[in-house]
Symmetry: D3
Amino acid sequence: MPASTRRPVAQLTPAERIEQVFLISQPQLRTTTRGDYYIAAFLSDSTGKLNGRMWQASEAIFNALPEEGFVFVKGRTENYQGALQMVIESLRPVDIREVNLEDFMPITDKDIPAMFSRLREIITEEIKNPHLARLARAFLDEQDLMRLFQQAPAAITLHHAYIGGLLEHTLALLELGRVVLPLYPQLDADLVLTGLFLHDIGKTSELDYDLSFKYSDQGRLIGHLVKATLLIEDKIKKLDESAPEPFPPLLKNCLIHIVLSHHGSREFGCPVLPSTPEAFAVHYLDNLDSKINLTLSEIKKETGNARWTNFINALDSPLFKVRTKK
Amino acid sequence: MPASTRRPVAQLTPAERIEQVFLISQPQLRTTTRGDYYIAAFLSDSTGKLNGRMWQASEAIFNALPEEGFVFVKGRTENYQGALQMVIESLRPVDIREVNLEDFMPITDKDIPAMFSRLREIITEEIKNPHLARLARAFLDEQDLMRLFQQAPAAITLHHAYIGGLLEHTLALLELGRVVLPLYPQLDADLVLTGLFLHDIGKTSELDYDLSFKYSDQGRLIGHLVKATLLIEDKIKKLDESAPEPFPPLLKNCLIHIVLSHHGSREFGCPVLPSTPEAFAVHYLDNLDSKINLTLSEIKKETGNARWTNFINALDSPLFKVRTKK
Amino acid sequence: MPASTRRPVAQLTPAERIEQVFLISQPQLRTTTRGDYYIAAFLSDSTGKLNGRMWQASEAIFNALPEEGFVFVKGRTENYQGALQMVIESLRPVDIREVNLEDFMPITDKDIPAMFSRLREIITEEIKNPHLARLARAFLDEQDLMRLFQQAPAAITLHHAYIGGLLEHTLALLELGRVVLPLYPQLDADLVLTGLFLHDIGKTSELDYDLSFKYSDQGRLIGHLVKATLLIEDKIKKLDESAPEPFPPLLKNCLIHIVLSHHGSREFGCPVLPSTPEAFAVHYLDNLDSKINLTLSEIKKETGNARWTNFINALDSPLFKVRTKK
Amino acid sequence: MPASTRRPVAQLTPAERIEQVFLISQPQLRTTTRGDYYIAAFLSDSTGKLNGRMWQASEAIFNALPEEGFVFVKGRTENYQGALQMVIESLRPVDIREVNLEDFMPITDKDIPAMFSRLREIITEEIKNPHLARLARAFLDEQDLMRLFQQAPAAITLHHAYIGGLLEHTLALLELGRVVLPLYPQLDADLVLTGLFLHDIGKTSELDYDLSFKYSDQGRLIGHLVKATLLIEDKIKKLDESAPEPFPPLLKNCLIHIVLSHHGSREFGCPVLPSTPEAFAVHYLDNLDSKINLTLSEIKKETGNARWTNFINALDSPLFKVRTKK
Amino acid sequence: MPASTRRPVAQLTPAERIEQVFLISQPQLRTTTRGDYYIAAFLSDSTGKLNGRMWQASEAIFNALPEEGFVFVKGRTENYQGALQMVIESLRPVDIREVNLEDFMPITDKDIPAMFSRLREIITEEIKNPHLARLARAFLDEQDLMRLFQQAPAAITLHHAYIGGLLEHTLALLELGRVVLPLYPQLDADLVLTGLFLHDIGKTSELDYDLSFKYSDQGRLIGHLVKATLLIEDKIKKLDESAPEPFPPLLKNCLIHIVLSHHGSREFGCPVLPSTPEAFAVHYLDNLDSKINLTLSEIKKETGNARWTNFINALDSPLFKVRTKK
Amino acid sequence: MPASTRRPVAQLTPAERIEQVFLISQPQLRTTTRGDYYIAAFLSDSTGKLNGRMWQASEAIFNALPEEGFVFVKGRTENYQGALQMVIESLRPVDIREVNLEDFMPITDKDIPAMFSRLREIITEEIKNPHLARLARAFLDEQDLMRLFQQAPAAITLHHAYIGGLLEHTLALLELGRVVLPLYPQLDADLVLTGLFLHDIGKTSELDYDLSFKYSDQGRLIGHLVKATLLIEDKIKKLDESAPEPFPPLLKNCLIHIVLSHHGSREFGCPVLPSTPEAFAVHYLDNLDSKINLTLSEIKKETGNARWTNFINALDSPLFKVRTKK
């Protein structure tokens, strides 16, 4: 994506004219002492947050606002009681697809297009089974989905919790699969690789509706495991309309089984538990990469002198920050 | 279904000619002392079990046999070492749909067509929301599925564990819903009723492949909650092709949420936990009916003098068999 | 109860003379710079809270004060550093029975006498078993207990957490029982109804001593399940002195069993687990009503734009606030 | 108790005339080939078991028999197909109070009257608080209860699982209390000692109805913790009718709290958790004695060469049988 | 230890010259507006805390500071914006062994040398087994370790959480053992006593490195149970070099088993569960003393009028503060 | 090891003279009708089991026998009531080190010396850190330990449960480490590799004493995690006597931490939970290999027609036996 030309919140000064996108949150419709409506809200990007006030407001404008979401704002900055605030002249919601997400959220420090291209390469080279290869390619070719796939974080508060995190994590798993699978020739390597590619694909839908890394309604109502199942089922149905032969039901069920069981336990939301060697392989490879990423990033995050991090719920432990290797 | 004309196993005598369906189980390909193949297996129905022997066997015939399933047998009975056995002349697998299931399994003591007709009546009369009404009707009109729905047990080892049990349990829930929902006018009664109708619809698929109340492969690999989700998703997609307006996504997600969460806890295989009043209503109504059915049937099952049943895992307790009401 | 004539805290202005009941909390005995004792405390009702100061205080007066409880206050309001405070001239604890509780706590929006009268009607009409009918009537006739029963909340922080909540919840269960029990003719309906009526009767004792919905000492030391057991045991003993025949021990034990097991699991404080069909019925009916009430009231409570409530511990989940039915 | 004069089962020979008590179990009403009723059952004592047959039986006789209980049998022994059986001429149920229990169950190897006298001595000497002393004495003076108290086992399958076990365990706890309490002068020693005396008193009721160490109906329906509470509540009510001053409610609640919480966790059936230092003291002293008794007796029980016992559920572990001390 | 001559923080006034040890915490290297480094930190002792500022600071000085630890400070006090702060002229870390710990932490109100002498007396008199006696004596003679043993708290946030707490708790256990063990003659009393003495010896190592009752790195990385095991293993190896006969492996393994299992469950970090009567004895004696100490001290800690303490995680309950005994 | 010359049990015929090692189990000292002692026991190897009788027995001979262990037997076979039994003339216990273990237990189908040589190669080539390299080499050079290391199973009932299983599993982990670690350059690869090598080294000690894959006394009393810790601590102490510089404490503690935490949760016996990235890496790599091995071997083990294995406790699930890849 091109470098952004917007003014970061942290660099704003009083009396600037502004026409750009902000993340709006906690909008409230209030009444002035004279009885007129106005809207109070926060406007933010990844560099900071300021108060916004829109004086000529109406219920209609307010109702169009998301609880939290992107808006294109025209207005000007001013000083109010020592702090900067934005006087909003007009504002309209914008779709997340028109937004430069990295202006608003942490982002991977790796190159997204390069990662995606490497992921495509591994999938293309390594998956031999024609059904799985066709399915994987069909996903790779679905541009809208892949755009979200490249932006989504891998998790909301844990490992890879930044733009591009889902792609980074998925690629890391495919790289792992590439070197680990030759050590276990009895495993169906194609199935494991396809499972690794698609295991978290349901997380893409979470970006469709909501924002700032919260679960979308659908994501919360049905869960991303089931969402991924629906995506795979749908894709296979479409493939079957044109493919030379139908996708084998056994293979489909085993693939969906991997997706539904990859969290490894009911406690973590699996409707079924791993029951094939391939499902166990995906579960432990997923854990291996996400836990190494999580521990390293948590240690890096806390910059103080302390020798231990705070207690980390997802690990059931604090981490020892002193490294034996520099 | 018409009354069966087959000879029940319990009434067989030596030297009868037999041409009818049996449940075959544990088939084994053995070799006679002369080196010829023969097949040994059990043949059974709900009244008993006898040994079967097929002397002119081949690997091809054996490989076509299910580990457990229905076969049409031609043969004759004989006495062998004091016990009755069947000399099989030919046998071929038959589809479960051609089988009179009640010849082989316990069956509800209620009238299946009457129950189904009452269920259709409640659904037709009570569900007002046009989308939900159309969806429910579409399920009611899918004859193959409804045939399985009328035969399936509600559970394999627990409550309503007999042919027609799923229908009986579902109808009981709809009757409950009919009288309980008017007490809670804030609930979306249409959504609750549709949820009650469809919450266990995924269990029908378990009869497709397998038999004698074991989970089918697909049922075990993806779970009946997710199976129901796929059925609903698919049905709505088909409806949307012809319906005057598309099924509202909010309504669809809330309905699927009810299905996916109706076991009430992750421990019992929910990928998501109940998060709407309607989902809680379905969960507790389902529990109310299934636990009352289970306790009453367990007490009835044990006919000895003992004042307490054995420990029942599903209830985490034994039951007190002495009744305050005769 | 008659409309209150007291001045709500929210309407107080400086320089009013006040003679009325307040809820006092966090009283502290302090020393002025001149070495005299004074008492600082909060005075509140359901509309607000203000500081109270009593300048001519003594250890004796202080020691008579509850940590939190009702006091009759004579004093006057004044402005102190921009806030209203009460200068207390005299104060004395008053018994909770002399207090108009709805001045101090949230209260059901239903009519308490009407609910109680309906409850009495259902019990009188529906319970046929003479022992259970006599027992229920004896409870209905115990005026002090029924007064508390009509005031108590059903729970402290969860469902029906307001004055009259226990009555409202109990009545809702009896209404449920009325329509549900005919669907299960094998259940002892009289026993279930009596169990529904008395299952939470132990919660009345919590109001005797303490206040603002905290558990009383006895309630916390022995639990409300055991408290209810003691009340039933005691009532039956008294009935047996005059009744034509003694209360059948089987019936008594099954009734107490329902009370002691109605939370359904050890985790929620049951000394015994449900072991009769009637105990399961009470447990699930109780859950059905309390969870529907809880989910609806939690959704109503949060008035912001957010589509989901906060995480609710008692439900192990947040709730989806968007309703499919208006 | 006087030495028994009955003929132990293990010493019976064919053709003896017998008039004595047996433990009858699993009685069945059967029909002879001629269509007459007869009763088949097992007759046993602590030394063995034999078949019993009553040829002139009726439904009335059969219905009067317990599923398991004591009967006075007149009959004679005979040889039937190589085994001894009893031909029963008449039989009538006898109350457990007329039975020499040690003829039928394992019994403590300590002297029961001596233990009881020592227990009375400790209680009399050590409990100073007049209310608690009066309450303890009232229990000691209730002869029927104390007779059961001296016979009851402390547990059914675990520690002290033999006649006199409850007394032995209770006395051991009082001896522990005697030496431990002086080390903790801040504890209310009188309350702890009374709690230790009465904590398992509810187990006496289990002997009233049933037999061979199974829980009675009441014991299973309400639990022995609540049963003990009812006994204490009842005793205090009776004391209050004659005592110089009423039993202090605080003291009563704290005593009952100890009883109800002494298992230490909800998982083990506590309706309330320990909340006073005295309740913790009773809980841990109880555990200390019962676990030492259990481990020593389990090690003694297994007499083989193995160095470890089998896995013991109550300890979540097997035990190491090799002793560092001979 | 001699009475301290240092100036407690609570008694400091402006413009004092100070040369003494403080506990430093949260040191930060900051930059003045002129670009010079200075160090900001807190200085504290058991009586209070004040800000410290060192104006002539360098990275080298800063890097030598612990995140939290003892430093010898030269400086003077001054008033800054109404609060006292310390202007630090020089500071150097000091070893914990040169520090009068009671100046900085809560300390037992019992006499440490008297307690240690009584502990030595019990061990010397009671342990008869020559191997165990020699081992215990070897620990008693290791001066550095015993110095830490006398200072360490028994736990960080729970029972005996003050200097001398480990000694106080260990002595209490030995006193308990002295009176309890004669009641259980089948136990190996020598093994139990040695186990009681050494069960928490691993906690001494936590004081070596760190401070203010936080776990040291080693303590956290390997746990104090394993640390104690290493200490015992090492001590026995050294004894074996000079002892008349080697320490019996059975005895060693049973002693280490007691140490490793004394928390009683995997949940509390035991690598093995108690499997000998002696291990159970140590586990329950340890619990008895620590829970009585914890409950009494928690009740004493909260001095308000409230009748119940806050919820205490380690007890899974709040405590009832009203005492039946004054 | 050289090919064995012993007569396998399965090939024995009556009237053979035998002088070879057997696994003896369940020896019992019995008395003949004439009052003489004789010993009855089972004698077995990996091919079968037969009864053994020693007629000229004494208590001394019996007491020298293990409950289960290896004995050198002189005797002859005979037919007794249709079954083969061994008449033992003399027998003496033999040390496990003199035994060809593969005669008695399942054994890896890989080449043990080749695996060990490859393991040595990886360790030598990959571990660069001089301290860790020296430590690993010291273990590799300890011949007795390495002999056990090559024979031990990796687990008793689960994955790699055969002779050579520990070596096979450890080597598989090192091969995994070799290819996975380059993907995570921030990890201390040397520490991970050393951790992988030594994580289960404590299991070797289990072979020292006992047999047929049961835990030895020490193994059960202290656990193999702590046993490994003692081995590492001891080895480092010895190295420090001669090494150019002492082993860094940080490195030692982090290595031991990996060993103690590698089961990943308290439930599986960890005294500490993983707290470093390296500890997580070892935990998940260990799981990855052992679970893939376990699932593949369980599927292979069950040879019937069934599509699913039985429920497998260690996996909390049955396995689907149908493979997508042949």
